[in-house]
């Protein structure tokens, strides 16, 4: 049999295509357009939320929940901004593309790990003030048409649901971060070889 390297280097490839500079520039334009479109969608989402909340406040719908509602709205905007900021220009971090593969991989994994392990701070914590405030308002509402026991059970159900949901979110992030930690450890071992 011929040498395996020769076979490899002389293999036929169907992608015998010529990617021209104008193709590359078109792709650069398309990337910019995608970024603009995504940002536009995020801004639209934020402004729509702000508009609806302001409309509800001006109409006096559920005035007790106005302030916590605003806090949750601010949290949404903050999280959207964080997602945008953390994912922007990620597809091809130009200054890193020419680094050695192990360093590049470590940087990619570290960035993901840091985002996940810090998620409680930028993804969970921003919602807490508004959520706790809303729960407290609901706990002290005591609707006249609801028996006290049913009211207490309803409050307990809401609190436990919120706890369960956010604990699951936090746990999901932590597990993903721990998996990345293991991969980073393996990379560090490789680097030390």
């Amino acid at each position: 049999m011929t040498d395996i390297k020769d076979i490899w280097q002389n293999q036929p490839t169907e992608e015998n295509i010529m990617i021209t500079l104008s193709d590359i520039r078109e792709r650069a334009q398309a990337l910019q357009s995608r970024i603009r479109l995504r940002n536009g969608a995020l801004y639209f989402y934020s402004f729509a939320n702000i508009a609806i909340t302001l409309f509800l406040i001006s109409r006096g719908v559920s005035p007790r929940y106005t302030m916590p509602g605003l806090l949750i709205l601010v949290a949404h905007i903050f999280v959207i901004w964080q997602l945008w900021w953390r994912t922007s220009a990620r597809a091809f971090p130009g200054h890193l593309m020419g680094t050695a593969a192990l360093d590049y991989l470590r940087h990619e994994l570290s960035r993901q790990r840091d985002a996940l392990s810090g998620a409680w701070l930028w993804y969970i914590a921003p919602f807490m003030p508004g959520l706790i405030w809303e729960l407290w308002l609901r706990a002290t509402l005591h609707p006249a048409n609801m028996p006290p026991t049913a009211d207490r059970l309803m409050v307990l159900f809401l609190v436990l649901s919120a706890l369960f949901f956010w604990a699951a979110v936090g746990l999901g992030f932590s597990l993903a971060a721990a998996r990345l930690d293991l991969r980073l450890e393996r990379l560090n071992t490789l680097k030390a070889e």
């Binding site: 049999m1 490839t13 500079l21 020419g98 590049y104």
Partner: protein, 170 residues
């Protein structure tokens, strides 16, 4: 760096290493349409990277680093499980016999399958070895030490000898 110089580096890189980029994309991506996307991503990343290329390493090292890093990004995003190290693959029983590999296409398929089953950076070392790079060049591209590369090349040779019935040239 002005655009013209960036363009010139890109055109030179494509002229010299275009076929190697095709082979790399074909190995990393089995699906034809995804492969074309990956290849375009590599070219795009390469063109962009030349804006910051100050010739601190050879053009070949730069091109392979960028192309492999695009491949790594794709693999990291996919988070596919079940990848093996060279050591694990060498210890695993061989699939098929060397006689099966008299057909070149089948040998290439098996080579690609082997590489796709490997974890980074073992997959990269094997790819670069097949591209006939020496240990020093592989170390520069992957960031592995010379000793680590030498160990891997030794395992790759054992793997190729077992699965393809030959000792690939060093």
């Amino acid at each position: 760096m002005d655009t013209t110089r960036q363009d010139q580096f890109y055109l030179r890189a494509v002229a010299e290493f275009g076929p190697a980029l095709n082979r790399l994309a074909r190995t990393y991506e089995a699906d034809a349409s995804q492969r074309l996307d990956l290849l375009q991503d590599m070219h795009f990343a390469l063109w962009r990277s030349f804006a910051g290329f100050s010739e601190q390493c050879s053009l070949r090292t730069w091109v392979y680093r960028v192309a492999h890093n695009v491949g790594i990004s794709k693999r990291v995003r996919r988070r596919r499980g079940g990848l093996a190290s060279l050591e694990e693959l060498t210890d695993a029983p061989a699939q098929g016999s060397p006689e099966d590999d008299t057909h070149v296409a089948r040998a290439l398929d098996r080579l690609r399958q082997l590489i796709r089953a490997l974890k980074p950076p073992d997959d990269q070392v094997m790819l670069l070895y097949l591209e006939d790079m020496d240990a020093q060049a592989i170390g520069e591209i992957t960031g592995l030490s010379a000793r680590a590369v030498a160990t891997r090349i030794h395992r790759i040779k054992a793997l190729l000898a077992r699965d393809f019935g030959q000792g690939a040239s060093p």
